[in-house]
Symmetry: C2
Subunit: 342 residues, 2 copies
């Protein structure tokens, strides 16, 4: 990994801090480097502002002059009521070089940020750790490209694929470390969805029970195919900033009800965490609305348990080549494997 | 790993060469080391004789005098019509030291081999790589301790635990590398068992289709709970040497039929490979007759497929702590995990 890639990796680490809390803005990271030292660090703040570049430039002050700015996304070119364009801020600060991971598909920027920097005589490079950046900002990019949230399916399974015993008991398949990791993943999403069966059987809290992250619990969504549940639904509004206010104690907040997986497009969330159960996971796979699989696997056999339901596969050959292993690790005696769309 | 352990590891590698082909004898390995060099190597030959020590001493000749013999099992103390006692051979050859992994539970030896060596002034140590040796000779040791073969359950599964689609199609879940590994495992077992459903639906060959190992295909056993199938069964005899003659083209040989998992005790096999399907695997788990799990997992989702059947688990807590991960590796895009009884 060369120097540019190492600094970009640092910027990506910062970008991860507010993943799931910047919707509809992307979660961007930025480090400003001068003479081999970091002089400023920034990341999109919860709610979407300030932007990463503004925060990093603020920290760098005069040290930004002649420095290199590493940003995980092309600096924005549009002025909003909430702040100036980041490309303009970089020009004014006098940075000598900007290295970006990927361009910004937002039509208000989409190359315009790079153009403005170049017009001011700043050296611009793009494409450094692009894959990692696409993964980091998957929610923003999926919303831009497909008009819906990026969907992670979580499955906690036995070796034989059971998410629960035949009668529904599932406490516990995985151990404490795996469950804590699930809570961390919750904190990185805008919304958590379960099926009506899971909701009514378990009334799961679905909150983040990790020290210091209790206020990161995302709003809850329940999928119910039965129309009679619509009367309970809250109105679904289009993506608007701050639509999901996390100040209220969320365990007390009524969930949002939807009737079909495609309804997620209307949720004000760019990162959706689908937690169960096995039928709900199948419904998302059937609708081709699963982008990432989070598989926690415990070293146990259950036998005759509840496994992933039929999602319409008709030919075994079609099952292959769809999922690529992106990450894996041991969590106590359980194993986590992360798969992404191939 | 010290020198003794390194030489013992070499002896264990030799011991693996005839695993599954020495029943009712153990598959033993032996290396004879003098001045830091191997002067003789031996392993129990297919059919059970010559023993590892006899072969290694034959290769070493006069170089065995003053050398150290590393053996994976206590040298036998009993003379048989098929050869002299290995303890006596080691004494006559003039080895200075014998290092063994474990003692031989056979009542005809059971410490008698070590005693005879010590009585002749040979230094004796035991317990080097004992766990690995117990794993290597699991068939022999399980037969001695429990009066039945050591049982490996093989499962080739999708990420969601399906061994087949709902209609039974399973070609293919895993890829070529995983299937080749299964053929290698077949060659290391005395017998391969499938359930009647798998047998009648697929008429599987269950042979070893690996270059150079075609003659290692073990006899086939079919489990059928229905008594009417007994009329087709061949007579089952107790363990006798050479009962399973592998010279005949096995694909042409009629299988042995049994009616319950516990019938495996009467098979002339110490290493049994249970290949499927999901109901048969459950029958062995229900009877507590599974010692080792060989899990091949393909990076695919099937949904609503055939998964491991109910084997009588009533409390999720009882599922934990039963299986310990013993080995894992990548086989192409599939993952192999080997679990053993904890």
């Amino acid at each position: 990994m060369n120097d540019d890639a190492r600094w970009m990796a640092a910027a990506l680490a910062l970008a991860g801090r507010t993943r799931g809390r910047t919707t509809p803005n992307p979660n961007v990271g930025c480090v400003i480097v001068r003479d081999g030292r970091v002089v400023g660090r920034g990341w999109t703040q919860a709610g979407g502002r300030p932007h990463a570049e503004a925060m990093a430039l603020g920290e760098a002050g005069g040290a930004a002059r002649g420095a290199t700015a590493y940003v995980t996304l092309e600096p924005c070119a549009h002025v909003s009521t909430r702040g100036p364009a980041c490309a303009d801020l970089l020009v004014v600060a006098g940075v000598a070089r900007v290295v970006a991971a990927i361009g910004d598909p937002d039509p208000r920027t989409d190359g315009g940020g790079f153009a403005r920097l170049r017009a001011a005589g700043i050296a611009v490079e793009s494409g450094v750790l692009a894959d990692a950046a696409r993964r980091s900002m998957a929610g923003f990019l999926t919303r831009r490209a497909l008009g819906r949230p990026h969907v992670t399916l979580k499955l906690a399974l036995s070796l034989d694929g059971a998410a629960a015993m035949a009668d529904g008991r599932s406490q516990w398949i995985t151990g404490a470390a795996a469950r804590a990791h699930t809570h961390l993943e919750r904190s990185r999403h805008d919304a958590i969805l379960v099926g009506r069966g899971t909701w009514e059987a378990d009334r799961p809290q679905l909150d983040v029970r990790l020290p210091g992250l209790e206020d990161r619990s995302p709003p809850r969504v329940v999928l119910s195919a039965k129309a009679r549940h619509c009367e309970r639904s809250e109105a679904i509004q289009g993506p608007t900033p701050h639509a999901l206010d996390r100040v209220a104690p969320l365990a007390m907040t009524a969930p949002i009800w939807i009737t079909a997986p495609h309804d997620i497009a209307a949720l004000p969330a760019d990162h959706l965490f689908v937690e169960g159960g096995a039928r709900t996971a199948a419904a998302f796979l059937r609708a081709d609305l699963a982008d990432r699989l989070l598989l926690y696997r415990a070293p146990i056999l259950i036998g005759g348990g509840r496994t992933l339901a039929d999602f319409g596969l008709t030919d075994l050959a079609d099952a292959h080549g769809r999922w690529a292993l992106a990450d894996q690790r041991q969590l106590g005696s359980d194993r986590l494997e992360v798969y992404e769309r191939a």
